[in-house]
Structure formats: C-alpha cells, structure tokens
C-alpha cells in the first residue's frame, strides 16, 4: 500500500465502490439505500399515475373510460405498488441510509445482504410491473381475497404475479429487517447504551423486529395460495376442508402490523426533526420508548378489525375492537410528547416543520376515524366503503408520506450537500396539503352516503356526483403538488446553496459524516457518552475526521466496524465485513429466473434454476466467515491495540443474524401451525385430521437421528468454547452422517406416505409441514458437510471457533420444529 496517500484516500480505496459497471457489485449502505429510495420514488410515481386513472374514471357518473377489467387491475396494482413497492422499501431505504451514521458506524453489518435485498426488490418490482404492461396484472384487490384470487375464479396469471412477485419483494423486506435489527443491537458506537441511542433508532429497531415477525404470515399465505393455484392443494377451499377465511387471517396478521411498520419510522422522523427545530432535546424520551414498544405489541393483536363483517364470534369482535381502540393511547402519548417538546423549546419554522404540521392535522384526523372504525357496529356500516378509503389514505399519507417528505427536506443537505429553500417547497406543500384534503376529506361523506369501494362507476342521483368530482379535482391538485415537489428536489441538487457543517444544528452523529458522506462515514469511530453527541461534544466535528478516535488503521485492507454489547454499548470486538461482491446480483438474478419460470409454469426449468441458486448461495456461504479471502489470520491483528476480530470469537454478528432470522423463520412456522389448528378447529368443515397416512414410528426414528446429531453438534460447540479441538473433523463428519440418516429417513417417509394433498386440506398442510422440515434438515446437514471441509481448510479451528457457533442455533431450531410438528401434527390428532 502506498504510504504517501493520506488516511482518507486509503480509506476511500478500501471502502469506495468499484467504478463503472462495478457499481452493480456495490454493497455499501449509502449506495444501496440511495438506490432503494430512488427506485421507491419511481414506483410511487407509477402508483400515483394509477391512482389518477382511478380518479379520472370516477370523476363523473356512468363513465366508460376504463373497462371493469382494467379498472380491477388498476385498483389492485395501485394498492400493491404503494404498499409493497413504495412505502416499505423507501422507509427501509431511509433507515439503511441513516442508521449506521446515527449509531456511529461505517456500514450495515451484512452488506451483501443489503445488496441482495435491493436486487430482489428491484427484480420483483419489475416482474410485477410487467404484468401491468401486458394487461394481465392481478385484479382481485391488493389483499387478494380467495376464492376470487384462486385458480377457479382468476384463471389468468395475474394472481401468480402477485403471489410470486410480492414474496420475492418480501425477501428483501425481511433481510433488511434482520440486518437493521442486528446492526442496531451490535454495532452502535462504543458507549452508546440503548438509553443513549437516538430516538429514531428505537423506532427503526421496533420496525425491523415487526418486519421480522410480521411478514412471515403473508409469505406463508402466499406460498399456500400459490400451491393451491399451481398444485391444487385446497387450503382455502371449503369443499375439501379448507377455508377462505384462513387467508384473511394470515393476510391481516401481516397486514395490520404492516400499517405500524410504515407508521413507526415516519413517527421516528417526526421525533427526530421536532427537537432539532425546537432547539432542545426531546422531552419524555422514556414515554416515547414505552409508546413504541406498546404499539409494537398491540399491533399484532388487532388484525381481526379488518374482518368484522365476516361473521366471527361476538366475543372475539369485542376483544379486537377494544384492542384497536387501545392503540390510540401510545399514539396520542407521542403526539403530546411532540407538543410538549415544542412547548418547552424555541421553535424555528423551517420547511420540514411545515410538513410536520401537515402530518399532525392529517394523521390525527385519520387516527380519529380509525378509532371510529374500531367500533364494531359502525364498521358494519362503513366497512368496504369510501369512508374506509378516506380513512386509510389519511393514515398512510398523513402518517407516512408527510413525515417522509419532511424528512427528505431535512436530510437533503446530507444527501446532496446543498440546502433546500422555502420558495418552491412551500408551494409544493400547500398544493399537496390542499389537494389531499380536497380529495379525501369529503370522501368520508361519500362513504357515508353508501358508495362502496372498488366499483367501476356509479349511477347519477345518489348524492355521490359532486363529491366524486371534488375528489378527482383535488387529486389533480395533489398531483401538481407532487410534480412541483420532485422538480424542487431535482433543481436543488443543482442550484441549492452549499450546506455548511450540520446546517440545522442537529444533535445526532449522522451530521458528522460530512455532507455528502464519505463511503466509510467516519474515519475514526468515537466513543459516545451522551444522547446528543453533536450538541454536547462539538469538537467531534474535527476529531472524527482527524482520526483521533478508534479503529483508524486501514493498511490491512479490511472493512471494519466496532461490535459492541447489545444493551450497554461496551466495546466487544472488531467486526470485519465483506467488500463489494457480484454474488448478490447473481443470486438475485437467479432467483428472478426462478420466479419467472414458476410464473410460466415451466417447472423443469424451475428445478434446474433452483439447483443453480443453491450453488450460488452455498458459494456465498463458502466465502464467508473466516475464509481466507475475507479475513485470513495475520499477526498484525493482535498487535494494533484493538479488540479481536469477530471471526475469532463465538458471539459475532453472524450468531445474532442467525437468531433473528430464526425468529422470522419461527414466525413462519407458527403461522403454518396456526393454519393447521385453524383448519382443524375453526374452519366450518373442520374435523379431527386423519394422519394415519404418515408413519409415526418412521418419524420417531428420523427424530432420534436428528436429536443425536444436534446433541453431538452442541457438544462440539461447547468443546470449541473450551478450546478443545481434538478430532474436530471427525466429529463434524459424524454429525453430517447422522444428519444424512435423518434426512433420508424423512425423505423416505414423505415419499412413502399416502397423503392425498389434492383432495384434503389437512393432508396438504401436513405435506407442507414435511417439506418445511426437509428444507431445514437439508440446509443444516449440507452446511455441516461444508464445515467438515472448512475444518480441513483451516477455517474452523481453535482460534477460529466462529462458524459452528453460528450454525448451532439453526440445528436447535430444526430440532425444535421437528418435535413440535411431531406432537401437534401427528400425535395429538391420533390421541384426540
């Protein structure tokens, strides 16, 4: 390495993306997050245009501009795009951009996963959009209620596009959720205990965990519905013991937390901006944290309020009604903390604050109608009317889009290094604010006058005419506002005044990265002793980039972060992360190929592609951890006065990533178990499942192999922890062999079982359970097989005990679901 280069140039050499096409191999969080936000904006524009088409069709009674068929595609795609391709990804993008900078680190902890997530999002989005271009888009509404979306009533590929495409996009959401959780918990600046963490990070931590738990029910539901459509497994068909309401439960089990997944980061933006413009710390930090946690929990207990008209038992309706109302409490606690912060501060009224006010008005209005809708008898009247349409646009646009735009203006200087101005920004705000209210305020009345949602047109004389005209007119004003907003932001990149350091006098660390930021954010990583580092330690401005703090060596060429304790922020280890890589792009391309081949029902191709995908993913796994191209053991690493590299420990980020991923996986499994029990006990055609077609004794033998394998594996890990490494390779081989025995007996009993999964929903669920088990057992076994090789290569050893510690929770998970399945799927029905 050239010693003449300044430290900054040396860091840039290690951290910068490859030039030209090499940008596609970028894994850096700033680059990836920008792509997320840019792509999200494009999808927002497309979704907005679809919305305008809907409003055009509804402007006058009995119009025939748009056919009912196209209209159904439009409202389905409008909702789908706005929810899945705009709201979630753009907020994840914002979080990915800000979180590492706010917690004082250089990157997210699994950079290649960020890139994979982005490409899955992009390709999934493109696949879904293609269906719209071809005129075969999904057309059963964005919540895809079956049986309308089933093969019988939607024989075209529209539903498949939705199910496969959205599942593909959700991989991206869940991977971002895992990554943000682990990053926030394990890579905060030394000294930054949870209670010193910027409030925004609490919001994102809650959002990320909610994604981890909340998305799997929908992923499972999509898999089940796709299996029903493609393979005839009748999960939702009452004639074969299924139930269409199971879909609704699984969908809203995801769908309601999703609303808070969208709201929380936006509220986090509000809680960040208001103190800065009030010139004082957020009052009631603890109140807010409490509110966030309460909200996260309650939001998983109120999904049934989307289903008050399906005829579920009254007591359940009352429970979910009250739970839905209770969520108003943590929400209003936040609103009043914001008011108290403004109250006790000295307020500067800049452009972001204008958006905060717009947010407050619209969101409180939407929240109030939300409480109204939680009242069951009122919901019986207005459910599925334009009142609900108005309500959720108030909540989503008010609760998510307004804070987001406020946040965009607030962080624009960070992205561009230039300041936004009031001139055009003010106009854009008022156009959007007035246009929005013109569109949606009186739409409540439209709903009260009885206009259902999703009707393609309406007859004159029902009192709806002028209201629809007003809404359509308002939506065009709003569209002009968005046009002006985008123009303002684009122009600002070119003509905006150069921003000075920390232009809004903020307290959080992201403003110390330089505007625009360098690829490594911080040249040296400071210790943080306060919740408001830039207010209380203004010298950080220069000391960070002078290299006065930790982890400033770069001659080794590794990208490094500090790993700290999840609660106290005590410095634990140095985390080395991979640099740019083509694997994410290639893996995502292969997965996109898989998605397309499933869409076109070319199952032979799909199998071939799955094999290729497996190879790519195992290649990825192979060049990971302590592999010599990632982090070879060198002498310098012990001599520079920094803690150990994480791959020399047994508690690095990989272990955390594995555990958080398994939480998500567990949520998927519990959804499956819920479906099984639901079909058995709640579905109208439900009866005790007949499970005699699966051999219980064979299953028990298979389980015995698995249990022995896991016990042995645990023993290896325990010995590694005690630095005992005799016969390591042989022991891994033994676990591998036992895993193979378990797997082959499981495969045998699955193929030998006499499951009629096309005729019976119970058998279909049992079959999915077996496949789920085989999938996990296979991954555990193959990975252990690879570990045998890695021991021989020297990537697992006395000083490199890391990788078994990462795989250990996976084995335990595989074992747990095996015996839970054994009990609940096989034993209980037998002895019932």
């Amino acid at each position: 390495m050239n010693n003449d280069l300044s430290l900054h140039a040396q860091f840039a050499k290690v951290w910068d993306n490859l030039p030209g096409w090499g940008q596609l191999a970028a894994v850096n969080h700033t680059s990836i997050a920008r792509r997320f936000m840019l792509t999200g904006t494009v999808f927002f524009t497309i979704g907005g245009v679809l919305g305008m088409l809907i409003r055009t069709q509804l402007a006058l009674p009995e119009q025939e501009l748009i056919s009912p068929d196209l209209y159904a595609q439009l409202f389905t795609m409008h909702g789908t795009i706005m929810m899945f391709l705009f709201a979630i990804p753009i907020l994840e993008g914002a979080a990915m951009y800000l979180i590492p900078k706010m917690i004082g680190t250089r990157d997210l902890v699994f950079p290649r996963l960020s890139a994979l997530g982005y490409y899955c999002y992009l390709f999934g989005g493109i696949i879904i959009m293609t269906s719209l271009l071809l005129g075969i888009a999904p057309d059963s509404g964005w919540f895809m209620y079956t049986p309308l979306s089933s093969a019988e009533f939607s024989s075209g590929p529209g539903s498949d596009f939705w199910l496969l495409g959205i599942t593909f996009v959700e991989i991206s959401a869940v991977s971002a959720g895992v990554e943000l959780t682990v990053s926030i918990l394990r890579t905060r600046a030394p000294g930054m205990s949870l209670s010193k963490m910027p409030i925004f990070c609490w919001y994102i931590l809650a959002m990320a965990l909610m994604i981890v738990f909340g998305f799997p029910p929908l992923i499972l539901a999509s898999i089940l519905l796709e299996l029903e459509r493609a393979a005839g497994m009748p999960f939702f068909n009452p004639a074969a013991g299924g139930d269409p309401i199971l879909w609704q439960h699984l969908f809203w089990l995801f769908g309601h937390p999703e609303v808070y997944i969208i709201f929380l980061p936006a509220a986090g933006i509000v809680s960040t901006i208001i103190p800065v413009f009030s010139g004082r710390p957020l009052v009631g930090y603890r109140w807010i944290v409490l509110a966030i946690i309460t909200m996260g929990f309650i939001s998983f207990g109120l999904w049934v309020h989307h289903m008050f008209t399906v005829g579920i038992p009254q007591l359940a309706q009352a429970f979910f009604s009250i739970a839905s109302m209770l969520v108003a409490i943590p929400t209003s606690i936040q609103v009043f903390v914001w008011i108290a912060t403004l109250w006790t501060g000295r307020v500067r009224f800049e452009l972001p604050m204008l958006w905060m006010f717009g947010f407050l008005f619209i969101f409180v209005c939407g929240g109030l109608t939300g409480v109204m809708l939680a009242l069951v008898p009122f919901d019986w009247q207005v459910h599925d009317t334009h009142f609900v349409v108005a309500h959720f646009h108030y909540v989503l646009i008010g609760g998510m889009l307004f804070p987001l735009i406020g946040g965009v203006y607030y962080w624009l200087p960070h992205l561009s290094g230039r300041m936004p101005t009031m001139h055009m920004g003010k106009w854009a705000f008022w156009l959007i604010f007035i246009g929005f209210n013109a569109t949606f305020l009186m739409m409540h009345l439209t709903g009260l006058l009885g206009m259902p949602r999703r009707i393609v047109t309406y007859e004159s004389g029902l009192g709806w005419d002028w209201l629809n005209m007003l809404s359509s007119f308002g939506s065009f004003i709003m569209a002009c506002g968005f046009g002006m907003l985008m123009l303002d932001i684009i122009l600002h990149f070119r003509y905006g005044q150069k921003a000075k350091f920390n232009p809004w006098q903020a307290d959080t660390l992201e403003w110390a990265t330089g505007t625009p930021p360098t690829s490594y954010n911080f040249l040296s990583l400071p210790t943080v002793n306060t919740r408001h580092p830039l207010w209380e330690e203004p010298e950080l401005r220069s000391t960070i980039s002078d290299g006065a703090h930790g982890l400033r060596s770069i001659y080794h060429g590794r990208r490094e972060l500090y790993g700290t304790d999840a609660v106290t922020g005590k410095l634990l280890e140095v985390i080395h992360i991979p640099s740019h890589s083509w694997l994410p792009l290639l893996s995502a391309l292969v997965l996109a190929g898989l998605c397309i081949s499933l869409l076109s029902r070319a199952y032979e191709v799909a199998i071939a592609i799955t094999v290729i995908a497996t190879i790519f993913l195992f290649r990825w796994v192979w060049v990971n951890g302590a592999h010599k191209i990632i982090a070879p053991v060198t002498e310098e690493e012990d001599q520079r006065g920094e803690p150990k590299l994480h791959s020399r420990t047994m508690s690095g980020p990989g272990v955390w990533g594995m555990v958080v991923t398994l939480l998500s996986d567990g949520s998927l499994y519990l959804s499956l178990l819920f479906g099984w029990l639901y079909l058995w006990t709640v579905a109208p055609a439900g009866k005790v499942p007949d499970v005699s077609s699966v051999s219980i004794s064979m299953m028990a033998i298979s389980g015995a192999f698995l249990t022995t394998a896991v016990l042995l594996y645990r023993r290896i890990v325990k010995r590694l922890r005690a630095q005992i490494v005799q016969n390591l390779s042989r022991q891994f081989s033994l676990v591998f062999a036992l895993g193979l025995l378990h797997l082959s007996s499981l495969l045998y009993l699955t193929t030998a079982s006499d499951l009629s999964f096309k005729a019976n929903a119970h058998d279909a669920a049992l079959f999915v359970m077996l496949i789920f088990q085989i999938f996990h057992s296979a991954i555990a076994t193959i990975t252990t097989g690879l570990q045998v090789l890695r021991v021989r290569k020297g990537y697992i050893s006395q000083i490199l005990p890391y990788e078994p510690a990462v795989l250990n929770p996976f084995w335990l998970f595989t074992l747990s679901i095996f015996w839970v399945s054994f009990g609940s799927f096989l034993l209980v029905p037998k002895i019932w």
Binding site: S332, L375, D379, R454
Partner: protein
C-alpha cells in the same frame, strides 16, 4: 313506533337539506339498526372534530407562544402533565364513552332468538342474489319483501366467491362466504323501497350486483305472502 317514525321523518327533512339523503345513505336511516349507527356516527363526529381542532390548536399554540426558558424540572412537569392528561386521559375517556354507547348498540343488532322473526335465505352468486323464504316457499331474485317493524333474519351464503350483503338504510353489512352461513338481523320501520348492494369486490360485475328490499305494511306483506306462497304451492 309512530313517535319514532315522526322523529325520523323530521330528521330526514333536515338531512335532505344538508345533502345526507340518498338511496344508499347511512345517514338517512329507515330502521332501528341503521338509526342507532347514525346517532353513534354523529356523536363520534362531534367529539372527533373537537379533538382534532383542540390538538391542532394546542400544537399551533405551542409553536407560536412566546418563548420562555424552562428548567429541567419545569419541562418535565409540562411534559408529564400534557402526556398524562392529553396522551392517556383523553383517549381513555373517549374510548370509554364510545364503548358505553357502542356496545349496547351493537348488542341490540345481533340476531337474538325472537319468535316473531322472519327468516329469509340469501344466496349470493356472481353476480346476483337468490332469495328464498324457507317457511313460505317463495323464490325471488335480487329483491326481498319484508314487513315493516318486524325483525328479519337474513341467512347469507355464497355459491362462488366472497360477496357482502348490504342495505345501508336498514343495517350494517355481512359477508357471504362460501362454506359458511352468516346471519344478519334487518328491520325496516318505514314502508318503502331500499337499495342494497354487494360491498365486497367479487369480480367484473361487482358494480352491478344490486338488489332491492321492499318494506311493506304488515297486512300488505301477509297478502303478498299468501299470493306468492300460494302460487308456488300451486306449481308444485
């Protein structure tokens, strides 16, 4: 009954003046369930508007009021007071009031056992409604006849996809779901014809899936049943 009718028609006049009437208007009720929900709505609307204006004004005042330096303790006190009164007290009071009115109202709409009740089966299909009176042996399509002032239980089922049975001026809606039978209690107090429509998107002709509920005076209804029930009997 007569008193209620008078009250209702008076209210209807006021509503038509402000544009709240209409064939499908929730705000122009013609039966006890829809009326109860309408009153709940107006109550919620009033409280909601006050809360909205109150919160926004408070926010505006907090921004605009002349600045004063608060000590750490003072700002803690301001915060706790605002959060406890506004953040917890306000929603708790509102929710309690809402439930106090809402639960009894909802309770009164449920299909409790009632000797007088008339049963009508409604079977939804893409895209029409098959109506049958199991006890009277009458079959109809897209129209229902019921007597005024008598509770009617609509047993809703579906042939194909999910639909939703809704007569806004009489009562709330209930979904028609394949594999299930849902019951909705309806009652019309004023004779007349009331529009019903499918409220759950059910495919291409969802928009056109409408029906009509004719509420007739009780004696006229008896006549109608004798006539049509007879006819059917004669056919058999």
């Amino acid at each position: 009954m007569v008193n209620r009718l008078r009250k209702l028609s008076l209210f209807a006049i006021v509503l038509s003046l402000v544009g709240c009437n209409g064939r499908y208007s929730i705000l122009d009720p013609a039966g006890p369930h829809a009326e109860a929900i309408m009153w709940i709505w107006w109550g919620m609307f009033t409280v909601g508007t006050i809360v909205l204006i109150g919160v926004c004004s408070l926010w505006w005042y907090a921004i605009r009021k002349s600045h004063k330096n608060y000590t750490e303790n003072e700002s803690k006190r301001v915060t706790n007071r605002l959060v406890v009164i506004g953040g917890i007290g306000l929603p708790v009071v509102c929710i309690t009031a809402l439930l106090a009115f809402g639960i009894p109202a909802g309770h009164s709409m449920l299909p409790w056992p009632n000797e007088k009740v008339i049963i009508v089966n409604v079977h939804a299909r893409q895209w029409f409604w098959e109506v049958s009176y199991p006890n009277q042996g009458i079959q109809l399509t897209d129209e229902i006849f019921i007597p005024a002032g008598v509770p009617v239980d609509i047993h809703v089922t579906s042939e194909d996809v999910i639909h939703s049975f809704w007569v806004p001026r009489l009562s709330g809606k209930i979904d028609a779901i394949p594999g299930r039978t849902n019951i909705l209690r309806l009652q019309g107090d004023k004779p007349g014809s009331y529009g019903g429509q499918c409220a759950e998107y059910c495919g291409l002709a969802h928009t056109k899936m409408k029906f009509e509920v004719n509420v007739m005076p009780e004696n006229e209804y008896e006549n109608w049943v004798t006539q049509h029930g007879m006819k059917k009997g004669a056919r058999e």
